[in-house]
Each structure stands twice: as structure tokens, then as C-alpha cells.
Symmetry: C2
Subunit: 848 residues, 2 copies
Amino acid sequence: MTYKKTLFILIALISCGHGRMAAADQFITSQHDNQSVVLFEAGEPASILLYDNADKGIKRAVSDLQNDYAKVTGQQPGLLERFTPTEKPLIIIGTLGTASAVDELIGRKILTADALKGKHEMYLITSVSNPFPGVKEAIVIAGSDKRGTIYGIYELSKQMGVSPWYYWADVPVAPKESLYFQKGVYSDGEPAVTYRGIFLNDEAPALSGWADATFGGFNSAFYGKVFELILRLKGNFLWPAMWGSAFYDDDPQNGVLANEMGIIMSTSHHEPMAMAQTDWHRYVERNSLPNIWDYNKNAKALQQSWKYGIERSRDWEKVVTVGMRGDGDEAMEEGVNIALLEKIVDDQRAIIEKVTGKKAHQTPQVWALYKEVQDYYDHGMRVPDDVTLLYCDDNWGNIRKLPAMNAKPREGGYGIYYHFDYVGAPRNSKWININPIQRVWEQMSLAYEHGVEKLWIVNVGDLKPMEYPISFFLDMAWNPRQFNPQNLLSHTEEWAAQQFGRSHSKEIARIITLYAKYNRRVTPELLNERTYSLENYGEFERVVNEYLSLALDAFRLYNQLPVAYKDAYYQLVLYPVNACSNLYEMYYAVARNRQLVVKKDIRANHYADQVKESFLRDSLLQVEYNTVIANGKWAHMMDQTRIGYFSWQQPPHNIMPKVTYVTEEEANNDNIFLEQHGFVSIEAENYARQQNGELIHWEVIPHFGKTVSGVTTMPQNKYPAPTEEITLEYDILFETDGEIELQLLLAPTLNFNDNKGLRYEVSFDDSKPQQVNFNGHYRGELGQWQAEHLIRSVTTHTLTEPGMHTLRYRVLEPGIVLQKIVIDTGGLKPSYLGPPESSRHIPDSESR
Amino acid sequence: MTYKKTLFILIALISCGHGRMAAADQFITSQHDNQSVVLFEAGEPASILLYDNADKGIKRAVSDLQNDYAKVTGQQPGLLERFTPTEKPLIIIGTLGTASAVDELIGRKILTADALKGKHEMYLITSVSNPFPGVKEAIVIAGSDKRGTIYGIYELSKQMGVSPWYYWADVPVAPKESLYFQKGVYSDGEPAVTYRGIFLNDEAPALSGWADATFGGFNSAFYGKVFELILRLKGNFLWPAMWGSAFYDDDPQNGVLANEMGIIMSTSHHEPMAMAQTDWHRYVERNSLPNIWDYNKNAKALQQSWKYGIERSRDWEKVVTVGMRGDGDEAMEEGVNIALLEKIVDDQRAIIEKVTGKKAHQTPQVWALYKEVQDYYDHGMRVPDDVTLLYCDDNWGNIRKLPAMNAKPREGGYGIYYHFDYVGAPRNSKWININPIQRVWEQMSLAYEHGVEKLWIVNVGDLKPMEYPISFFLDMAWNPRQFNPQNLLSHTEEWAAQQFGRSHSKEIARIITLYAKYNRRVTPELLNERTYSLENYGEFERVVNEYLSLALDAFRLYNQLPVAYKDAYYQLVLYPVNACSNLYEMYYAVARNRQLVVKKDIRANHYADQVKESFLRDSLLQVEYNTVIANGKWAHMMDQTRIGYFSWQQPPHNIMPKVTYVTEEEANNDNIFLEQHGFVSIEAENYARQQNGELIHWEVIPHFGKTVSGVTTMPQNKYPAPTEEITLEYDILFETDGEIELQLLLAPTLNFNDNKGLRYEVSFDDSKPQQVNFNGHYRGELGQWQAEHLIRSVTTHTLTEPGMHTLRYRVLEPGIVLQKIVIDTGGLKPSYLGPPESSRHIPDSESR
């Protein structure tokens, strides 16, 4: 629900509780009319008025706005810290109740912003007349609080055409000649969920490798980019990377910057008291304390470290994780009793009170019911009412627990810890996006409708390539009820339009939707040669072809896009589709290889080669992503292994599936074909025996004709002597007998020999050969011949009994090329190429 | 057969008649050793010594060599017209017996070139020591005659890395730091076939449009490019464009330039006496003669025009077409008698003798046995022995007639007029390459082995996109016996390497081979929605998927190639594969649309949309080829229509196949599914009836889950009252009865409701509902659940009789999402996703 209304209606709506929106209505246009205010025109940039007493985080956002505006228009807007007369378009920015320019306008009754009063993280964007002497009209961004103002600033950026993903996915900014503000009052209302954030997790080797190469680690240069992304997506919360990292300790500026920019920090579900697990290890080392993560044995040291954690972050906005799990996100040892766990929480709260000098409930806290911790809860463990209960999914997007419908409200409310990425059994899912928003919506909506509205946090792995589901998750956290089954796909289309413009947004949305669906059928890490059925319902072929077709569509679009969009498209669309399609092709080839090896069928080798090729392609795509795209910006970002799992844990490097080659010696060259389903179909080259003449010999011409090859005699100017037998024999195991129809599929060779005709003989076993002059006297007049480019020469034969029979084919002329043999024993159905080749008899005990 | 031998061995081989080669051994290298002569090193360009008395055509080729050398090295080699002392590497060029630099070296016994004596179109490339004072070593290109020298010059160009297709397919030239000549004597020997050429035909709208836009018509600027290409491919012969064009008349420089460059001109099979048909019409108009193309009625005018034709071209190398067909390449009127036709030839020869002042047999002549003319021959018509008999294929690559094995040699020998392109019944083939070299080789080899070695001419349509088969045809015309079934694919690989380098030549050769094969299964113009079987052997799907997969591979490679190669690759590989694949997709969608429309199945509309999309894509690809690739160089080159044929002749513009939409009203919404093959499979959204509650209703979530969608109840926090029936009903027509197994494929939703469980009820007809708590007490521990991301909930039921039954599904909890229903009636086979959806019953008389 988006709207542009008079302020009156807006206020009315907001006070009725309907004021939540995913995004404000589009208020920036390129068309001037009498309802629009100039923001950029004729090369003249705007000025921004932000009083210099403004919050540092807001100043930062305004600086981003200046840069964004410059990217769109080519002109940097000036920044006024006090009003000075200007001819330029003016953007006035301020937070309610902070002696801001906005407060001044309200005081002078030029602006009414009652709708913002007492609100949380809300902005209004509107225009005012004659705000200052000489300024006829100006645009105002007013925030109910710091983040409200910041969201308003980034909303303007977004509407001007700067995607929140401009940095993280290299989405280009389309330059514009002019920008106008369409008069009205715009707002997204308040967020439905208080804390809306992501968790950078399972971050090695990809994100960590990239951060090291790009910023020198998980420092404030890195986090500045993360915080900015979260704010642009209207999130406010972060669990930072913690595999061997300690947010506050790695770079003392990390905490400072988060607080300054307006990001509410926390530590992950199992890291209590604003201390990363790595922090704890460093702390005890630094202070020569026992490194024992056990409250029974080492309470003093733990308390001391926790006190340190709370003290360090005392002045910063945060949510404190309470409770305790085992070291390194493991379950605690057996027999931990609930009383002890409750005491831990009590002691933690005592520390909080002591350090902050305030009642515990004045510091936001969260207790995560992750894995076994939920058991404690189910067995009766409770924490004080002001602590947020963080329910969890099963790490695979399926929510384990929700508040009962009749639960009484709790002060701390409820949260959900959700996963887009996971390390653990049955298998890691770290590489690629496997999260269809359809399931995310259905589960998170279920949670919201059960009262989960305090904290939504999602594990996003390396952040990339989870771009789209992150956008969806945070949009949904702002206003879950904006979505329903009918409009879900519109979100994907709008998002695609935001990154790539409108012209291809529908097709891009379709591709993004389908690849997420396909990847959720089975995750790439779990996919193998046995997942889909090779034998039944053509299943494996079908799913491979679905992915191939999607990859082709993705490539087609890639090549249509302007160059500026290719890096973004590669990351957001092409790479995941192409790389996953390649894995499907690889495992299909593995399956075919294994199937054919059992039959000692030499074609197994072709599939073995294909496996190698796909495996190589996978690594080349990784190199391309890491080193070529966006001029090599994404070093290491696709380092995550994905092939070669043999337990839940990832292999140290990708390992090619084992393939087997069938040697010429091993190969089943019996070439005995089986009559099945009422027909036999044999490619001409798969004869059982050949008989050459003195001067004449048989030759296979690879790729000749419509299917596999052609077989002919050479030299092409040598005629067999009348008694010379130049023959091919085909062995066939029939399950029926009686009259059969033999079709030879021949190249459409004409009677070049003075129209003498082209003759062959066919017979089964010892029966009298039938001689056929297959062209008759046709001389090459125009007709069906040319259209079909094939001669289907038919004879009928009678088999006296089922079982093994030999078809003998003899040529009496040179220049005849046989492509395929089809025998109708009663079940042959019409087709253009004839049926695919029949199965072969497997000798000895090696049944199929 | 290629080799690098001492001159002695070379001479020996040539005199034994084994001296024919497709191309000389590689003699240019980038590696210096003690067997190499410097050609470029350290930025120092070579000089070329060509005496200024040299033939103009050779001077032209030398000028090309200078430019080619500059493209490779960045340095233009200087041209010396007499030897002047030089420190630079030296290339000495000359033709035997023309007072050339080569003759001088022979005279001074510095060079031996006996191997060239009396030879035809042969070159030697070798090095000599101390040819001139101060020159230690030099490279020599010596020709037996003008074309021999020219071929030698272009051979050097090619070996330096300039493809014969550099202009016609924008093949880039890879720069090199140094060039060395590997010492030895190199030659391609003599050509096996005397006249080796192409026919520009059926050239509107594509080639003519391009020539108009680029050169202002088929003038000498255009033909200069054509002649150069032919020479670089070691051809020597051309039938020029003649749809409304007259080579000699359109631009008087055309004939001059052909003769200068060394191209032997002729007029096409039905245009006698060096007069294009358009020439004749212009001639009679100009001279106020009767425009009657009938020797009985208008012999004088015809003779006069023929005399004009021979006079005009008197001084130029040519082959004169003799005989007569109907006007505009039509058969002559009925009842034409052989005596008249023989008289025509006699009269034509008399004119030739008169104009040339030489015996007729001293002017090369050809008589084409095209279409009905072959009948005259077969009925006994004969022409003098010195006239070349030009046999023909049936326009589709199938040769109609060859000399008898025991035919006595004729002075004029035999030729073949072959087709890569054709206008006529059963349908034009003008758009794209449909010529697998395998069939070209097999047929032309057959011809050669039957003694056809005087003239090979192939109709190449618009020239593009026949690049590869043209190369193959002319390579083969030089030396047919170099090829055999085992090495054919190597030619494609070598050709790919010539255009794109070695790294991807194998894959490119595979793609080129397969698309030609696929396009010969049925030509794109003949392909339609009925060509392949939709019902049997999964044929249509299979061929579409083969093409899709090939297109994907083509795109993958496109994106791997360096930018410099993309234009060439687009023209030679990507466009034909992508555009043809798109046509397969389109006709498949047409077929599916028609199939589903009959069933009043709403999914028909999806395929109708796909047809529109493919049709649009086809036109966009044309625009891209014509206006984007190579900076818009190929204006009009893909203008040839290809979709919408309803007779043999092309439609004036592409016409989208008719598609039909099924309206909501027409749609068969009965949704009665058929049990077949022992199972029923139904997507959850395809229920027959739904029953909502007062507050609760059913919702379909598109794209939810593994196949089509999910169906759930909303709101997600509303529980049905105990008596409330929230149900979906499915109608199924069973062919069996007895015990059946029902599988509900459900989203893997957990017991979020305090582990109370998730319950549904199922029943058939009026039987007692079975209640299932499908999770039991599973709480979301890690396991198979997460791996499969699906719950397969099973119940068994008994049907008392076959026929229509209704499955009733009722939910007792919110949050349950049903994706698919599978019923095993005895024939269900294992698969991962369950079988594709079962067929639906077609109501009333509309049988399938």
C-alpha cells in the first residue's frame, strides 16, 4: 500500500494504524508540471540545508545524498549549514525536536509535522512554500528521529535512481537531465518490526577473503559499507561477522561508526553480553584468566569479561544477547540444569544494571532459543519479561516455534532468527542463494501473524549472493502485511526494475524466481547424480533442460543489456543461473556415465568428458566472478566450495565427481539391440559385423545426416563385382515374431549414375535377400525429397520365431549412405527422426 | 597432406602427382631458431621487392600483404621496385617467366624453381641466401603464373594471422611481436579443379540491400571485396549477382577489375555469351530490338546481343556459358527441339570465333545441364567436346548426374553446379546455413571420383552466412582427396582456429557442426509446429532441448571470448545458433498452444505468449545483426524473411504463426484428472472445488515449492472451528479400483504451534476421513527434512470401483501448504519431484 495524500489524510491513516508502507509513492519524476517542484533542471544543482548541529549519522547520510545526486545529475549539490539566500532548488533536512531546520519551519508554522510526533523511525517528505526569504518552494525531509531522517534521505536517493545495491552489486546510476518533486506528503510510516537486521555468518572463505583483500579485514572501512547498505534498505540491526572476528575488538572504530551511523549492534545468538566469542578468548588471554567457557567452573572470569563487554559498548545503541551456549556455538555439555541457566541470565542482568546504572529492562536484551536452547525453554526455563524471546528456524527456513495465539503480551516481545545460509547437517548451504521469497514470505508472515514483531534477523552468509532475499526480508520486516500471495512476484519485478530499469524487469524477475525455486528443489551442495530419476518420467533430463533453458534466457538478456548493467546482472542473475545450471549438467553427466559404464557402453566416455568440462567451467566461472567482473572488485567472493561434499561439512576444495572410462577392450561391442515397445531403432554405425571387398571398404562418416553418422562404401567410384558381398550385419533380439517392416533411413542420394538406380539387398538370417532399387527412376525433380532430405526405404519380412536374428544389408552400388535402421514390429509410432536408438543387450550377468 | 620438404623431394612428389595440398605447412612462427629467417623483429619491418613491371593484380595483392603485415606488426613494410640495399628483412616476389625478381634469382642460380615450370596456379615459398649484395637471407614467393604468385602472397598473409575472412566476417588480426620464416620449400601444389568459384544468387533482399547501403550497389567497390575473398580462399571463378543486375553493364570497372585481379568471370548457367539476363533486356531496349527471348522468333537480335557480350569481354579471362534456357531462369517452352538447341550452340560458337578470331575451342565454354536441360542431354543433345558439361545437383545438395565410369575423356571436361542456397520448390532456403560439410564432402567427392574436375561452382546466396561452407568448398576444390571421413572434423577445427585461435577451436567446431546438422534435419523455412512429434518419443522436446543446449554453449563461449573476437563469433557462430534455436522454441510453443487449445486448457495461453516472445526475439536478433554488430557494418544482411511461408516462395515479411488464446470462460475448469500408467499426479492448485470458512479462505501462492505453486489457508493465525470444513476437492477418473496410496507433498512446515502438530483430513467420496498429524512430534531437529525440503505424507485408501472419485482434503490448522498430490494405483515409479501432472479429462466430444 503506497499513497500520496494530503497531510490530513496521512495523519488520519497513521493514527488508524494503517500507515505502514513498503516504500513511499514515487515522488521524483522527470516531467515538470504545475504540481511539481524543481529539484534539478538546466544543469543547476540543488542546495541542501542541514543545520550544523545535526547528528553525525545524518550528516553522513546527507553526504551520501550529495554524492548520489551528483551521480544522477553530474552536479554536486552544495551544503548549507545555515540558511543563506540561494536561487537554487532547496532541500531542507532535519529531525524533529533537535533544533533543526525542520523545527524552525514548524515553529514558523510553515510546516506541520504532527504526524511525526512520538513516532519511531518515520520520515515525511513534502514541499513547503516560502520557507525562507527568496525561496519560493523547497523540499523538506523531516524525521521523527535520527533513523527516520536517514531513511528519508536514502528514500530520496533511491527515487532519484540510486539503488541501495549500487555498491554491493555494482548497480549503475542512470544519469538524468532533470528531477522534479511531485507535490504531496510522502511517508513510509513506522516500521512494523522494531529491530530489522542481518547476520554476516559462515563468512569464510568468501566474505572474509574479500574483506581482507579489499579493506584489510572486518574493520570500519568494511562495516561502513555494510551499515550504509542496511540503512538504505531501511534496516537498523546487525549481528557482525564472528568467525575468528570480534567486532568491537578488531577495530575500535567499528562500534563508534555503528553508533554514529545509527546501526543497532548486537552479538549473535550464542555470544552474550556484547562480547564476540573471539573477544572472550582474547580477553582471557590478555588478562591471564582461565579460558574455560563454563559457568560452574569459571564464573568469575566470565563475569569479568561480560562486564568488560557492557562497559565497552555502554554509550552505544545495542541489544544485549543474554544466556549461554557452549563454546563456539555448540550445545552446552549434557546435564546443564535450568536453574543454572536462569542464574546466568540473572547475573548477566546484574552486570548490565551495575555498568549502566539503570534498571536492567532499560537495556534491550534478547535470549535466543536456538537449537537445544529451545529445549530448556520447553522444559520450563524462563527469562524476565523484558527480554526478547528470539525464536528460530531449523536453519533451513522452517520456523520451529511461534508464540501461542493466546500468549499474553510480553514486554520484550518476540523475534525470529532466520537462515538464508547455514553451516551444519545435513549439509552446508553456503554458496549460492537457495531462498525463494515465496517460502520466506509464508514463514515470516506466519511469524508476524503470531505476534513476532520485535526482532527479525536473518543469517545471510557472505551477504553476496543473497542480495535479493536480503532486500525482500528487510522490506517485509518494515511492513509484512503489504504482501500477499498475489503481489509477491511484483516485489521481484519492482526490485529488478530498481536494479535494471523497467524494460527487462519482468523477465529478470522470472529468472530470479525460477532459479531460487530450482535451487530449493535440492540445494546445490546436496544435489548429486542420484537426486533425480534417470529412468522414470524423464525426470533428470527434464530438470536439467529446465535449467539449461533458464540459463539460455539469462544469457540472451545479458547480451541485450547495455554494458553499464552487465556487472550487476552478472552478479545478481547470470552467475547464479549459469553456475547452477552447469552443476545440473555435471551431475546429469555423472549419472549417465555411471549408467553406461555398467553396460560397458563406450558412450560413457563422452559423459565422463562432459563431467570434466563442467567441473572446469565451474572453476572458470569462479575466477570470472572473482577477478574479471567489475574490474576484479569481488576478489574471493565466490571462493566457497560447492562440489565434493561427502559429509555435512564442506570439502577443502571442490572435488570432481568420480567418473569412469570404458576402454576399447572392455567395451561391449556385441551390439545386440533389443526389440522393445514394438520397434527396434539402430544407428547405422552400430553394426555387429562388416564385410569389405578387395577394393571396397565400409566407412563411417561422423555427424553425417540427421542423427549420429552415415555409413557408406569407399572408394566412391568402385562398383562391387556381381559376386562380391559388401555387407553390414545387425544383431537384434526380438521379443515378437511374424511380419515386420524394415525401414532404412538413407541419405537422399540421387541416381547420379545415368539413372541406373541405387540398389541394396536386405535379408534376415538365411532368408532370400530382397533387392531394392530405392530411388526407382527418380531423377531429382523437386518435391518431398528435398523437403525431407532423407529416403525412407521400406521392405517387409517375416520372422518365424522370437529371439536373436541377424539383419544383413548389402550394397550393389557405390554412393549409398545409410544413416539409421528402424524396424516396426507393431508398436512404432510416427515421428520425424525415428525413435531414439534401442537399448542394447547386456552380456552375461551384467543386467541393466 | 601438408609438408615441408627439400626442393628435391617436393619436385619428386609433384611429378608423381601427389603434390596437391589444402594448405602449405605452417612456415611462419613466432620462435626464432637457427633454421629460421627473420621476417619481423624488434619493431623493424620487412621490405618487399616486386619489380615494377609486375602484373597489376599481383601489385594489388602485394598492397594487401603490406596492409596485412602492418595489421600484424604495427609496421608497414616498404615496397622496393628495384633492389636497393636494405638492412631490413626482405621478401622477394615474382612470377616465373615475367622478367621478375624471381627470374633474376633463377638466372643468377640463387634460386631453383624447376618445380614451377609448366604448372598452373602454383606457388613456391622458400628462402634464399645472399640474393643481393648485403642481404644475407631473404624470403621468396615465386608463382608459376599470376594466380600462383597471388595465392603465395595470400598464403603468407594467412600464415601471419590474417584470416581470408578478416573483412567478410570481421575476424580480428592478433598482433605479433615477431615473425620468422622456418626454412624450407613450401607449396600447395596445383589445384585439382581448374575453375573453382562461387555464385552470388538469390541476393535480394539481404546482399543487395547491404551492397546498396555500403557501396551503392554491385559495383567494382563491392566486387573488389568479393574477388579478394575468392583469391584469399584460392578460388578463381565467379558467377556474379544477377537478380536485376548485369555485372559488365552495372559498372564498366567490374570486368576490368576482375581481369586485373585475376578472377575468371562467367555468367550463370542460364545466361549465355557473357551477357547477364538483365544485360539482354537493357541491350534490346537500348538498341530498339524486339525483347523476345526466343531463338525461333528473334534470332537476329539474340545473335547481335551475344556478339556484343563477347566483344565487350574479349580481352578478359572468362568462361562463356553456351546454350539457352527460358527467360529469367525458367524452362523453355514445351516442344523445343534438340536440333534447335544444338543449332543455338553452333551459332554461339560461330560468334565466338568471329569476335575472337580464334577457333572456338580456344575460348573456354560451359553448358549447364540444369533442371530440364539435363533432359535434352539425356534425350541425346550433345555439344562439342571442348565445351565443359556442367552437371547439377537438385538445388538441395544432391547431385543429379555424373559422368559414367567408363565415359571417354572429353576435352572440355565436367563440372558441378552445387547449391548452398536455393529459391524454389518445395521451399526457398535463403536465410541461413543449412549445409553440413559432411554431405558436401560426400557428394563432391563422389563427383570428383567420377571425373568432375573442370569446374566447381556453388550457389552461396548472399555469401553470408555461408562463410564456413564456402571455405570448405573451395578448400576441397583445390584438393578433394585431402579429405576423408576421419579428418573432416579437423577441417572445421582448423577453420575455427583460423578465425578464433586455438583455445576454443574444438568447441567452436562442435557448435558449427551441430547447428549445420540440426538445420539439415529440416530447413528453418520448412520447420513448423508439425515437423516433430509432440506425442511420440518426446521427439519435439528433445530436438528443442538439443538446440537450446547448443545455444547455451554458444553463449557461454561468446562471453569467454576477448572483445575483439565477438563480432566475428556473433556472425559465424552465435547468431545462427541463437536464431535457429529461437525458431525451434517458437514452433514448439505453437505446437503446444494448438495441442492445449483443443483441450481448452488455459495453459495454452502461456505458449501463445511464448510464440509472441520468440517472434519478437527473431526480429530483435535481425536488428542486432544488421545494426549493432561490427558497428552496424552489416546493414540489411539478415533481412531475408524466414517465418510465415505458405508456399515455396518467401513471404514479403515474417508472419507470426497463428496462436489461439483460451479465455477464462472457455477454459475447461472441470479439472478431472485421469489415472494412467498406474498413477495420478495433480498440482495442488488444480482442485475442482474449494470450501472457505467464515474467516478463513484458501490462497494459491504462485511459484511456491518445487513445482508449480502451494495452496494454503489465510489468515495464517486463524484456526478453523472444530465443526468448520475448510476443504479442497479433487476429481479423478480412475481406471482401476482397490487399494491405493495417497501422497500429499507438503511444505516442510514445522510444529511451530508449541509442537501441537499440523493436522489434515483426507477421504475419497463419502468414506470416513482419515486424520493425519503429518509431523508427528517432529520439532525441527536436523535431518532428512532439511535435505528434502518437503513432507511426503502417506495414507492408504480403498476404491470399490473404477470411475470418477472425489478426493477431499481438509485442514485443521493454519500454516499447512500443499504443493502436489500423487496417487499410486500400482504403477508409480520412484522419482524426486513426483511424476509430471496427469492428463485431464476432456469434456464432451472434444477428444484429445
